[in-house]
Amino acid sequence: MRCSLYALNRSVVMANMALSCCARMKNGIKILKATGNFSRVGAKMQANYCVSASSSQTYPGITESTEEYKYVERLIPPSSVPTPPKHDQYPTPSGWRPPAAVPPALPYMVRRSRMHNVPVYSDITHGNRKMTIVRKIEGDIWALEKDLKDFLTHTSGTTPLMQVNEVNMSIRIKGSFDKDLKSWLLEKGF
């Protein structure tokens, strides 16, 4: 039963194909009569993807080429942040300056972030409590805390509250001083 149904199906498909081929052949002959050009007929036949005796000679076949892969390769993004190029003049138009080539002779060190920026961030809680955080500190954190205190008392007049986190090696300062601290650290050469 199944075999006969399959055969029936196949015969129907073949008939359809034959019909479509016949239809396309008729179209081809129409074009030939209209243009008198065999190549146009062939092109039209290829466009219709008709597998018939006349067009199989002009069908080019499939060629594999890996030369176009370069257009894909240049779209794949990099995974790591590049080192910034050498500029003629610092600071750059955006205000960025690279760290000093020789690290300053201080008992502490503040590393740059992965995007090569100074690691001073502002934090806000409860909508009105502004804080500044200095991260990525290495070395004697208390010496840096003392220097920060002196600098901020000099600029703002009052001594701000500071929290030294020795585990994370960061300092949290009450008040928003991020611009001042960024410029101060840049001057130091970090």
Binding site: E73, I76, P77, P78, S79, S80, V81, A101, V102, P103, M109, R111, R114, E138, V167, M169
Partner: protein
């Protein structure tokens, strides 16, 4: 009065008697040391910094200018010390963050855990659909089913329900920092050794045990190489040993490093670790998962 003085005297006598006995009589049994124990304190190795031996391996990745490379001895499983190697300070000399080690170890133990404990509730226990006796008149307490949690044989009200997963993922950078902290602490405590290759002269396990004893590596050793295809001799030697284990470097984890007393790394494993662990310090956030191709994935 006589009884009091007698008790005091007895206590004094007891104290003097106890002092003649060995000191660990009052200790619990698991803390008593065996009398024939010959304990030798771990002899300190000379620091590799001052010696004049040649540096056989330098860091390929740039070291920040304020830090200097850590130096370690390069040993061999066959011969004596071969020389020195330089290790990157951002992998082998990070500050000892014990809280991160704890976090990573707890994660390692729990994220694979699926507890299959399951008990039946009153709905699942067989029976208990019918009201056992009428609501009023019988003189007994009112009940709706014989399988309520109040009843013996009844369901459990708030018991463990079904397979529970304790899966969670720590951020990738925390796990990476955990590895760095573990390597740094092992190096600082003199439990990390760098070896050139895993070749040993015999496939006898006793060779490795004697070597560990002679070089005072401790009770357990973890040997790490880059690939799984290691020399046959060492594979055979460690096949039946419980305390000395081999591991490819992709399987290196904080739990195993802390479980084994000594960790031996080959120079290729050190290269691999430095490359992979330092990439995380200057990578972008993933645009798409890192298992898909990127331009310059390490």
């Amino acid at each position: 009065m006589f009884r009091r003085s007698l008790s005091v005297c007895c206590r004094q006598i007891g104290k003097t008697f106890l002092s003649t006995l060995p000191e660990d009589v009052g200790l619990p049994s698991n803390l008593k040391l065996p009398p024939n124990l010959i304990s030798t304190a771990k002899r300190e190795r000379p620091s590799p910094v001052g010696s004049g031996l040649p540096v056989l391996r330098k860091c390929e990745i740039e070291i920040p200018p304020q830090l200097s490379a850590k130096q370690a001895w390069l040993e061999s499983l066959k011969d004596d010390t071969l020389g020195l190697v330089e290790l990157h300070p951002d992998v082998f000399a990070v500050p000892p963050r014990l809280d991160i080690l704890h976090e990573v170890i707890v994660w390692q133990r729990n994220f694979k855990r699926i507890s299959h404990a399951k008990v039946k509730t009153r709905a699942e226990v067989r029976g208990g659909g019918r009201k056992p006796w009428q609501q009023k008149g019988s003189g007994r307490a009112r009940h709706g089913s014989i399988r309520s949690p109040l009843w013996r044989g009844g369901g459990i009200a708030h018991g463990p329900r079904g397979p529970t997963s304790y899966y969670y993922m720590l951020p990738m950078k925390v796990r990476v920092l955990g590895l760095k902290v573990a390597l740094s602490t092992k190096l600082a405590q003199d439990y990390l050794h760098i070896i050139d290759s895993l070749e040993i002269p015999t496939p006898e396990p006793q060779y490795l045990l004697d070597l560990a004893k002679q070089r005072q590596w401790g009770e357990s050793v973890l040997i790490v190489d880059v690939h799984e295809d290691m020399p046959e001799n060492i594979l055979k030697a460690t096949a039946n040993l419980k305390t000395i284990n081999l591991m490819p470097v992709i399987g290196l984890n904080v739990y195993s490093m802390l479980k084994h007393e000594t960790v031996l790394l080959t120079v290729d494993a050190v290269n691999f670790l430095e490359k992979k662990l330092l990439w995380h310090d200057h990578r972008y956030s993933p645009l798409y998962p890192f298992r898909l191709p990127y331009n310059d994935f390490p």
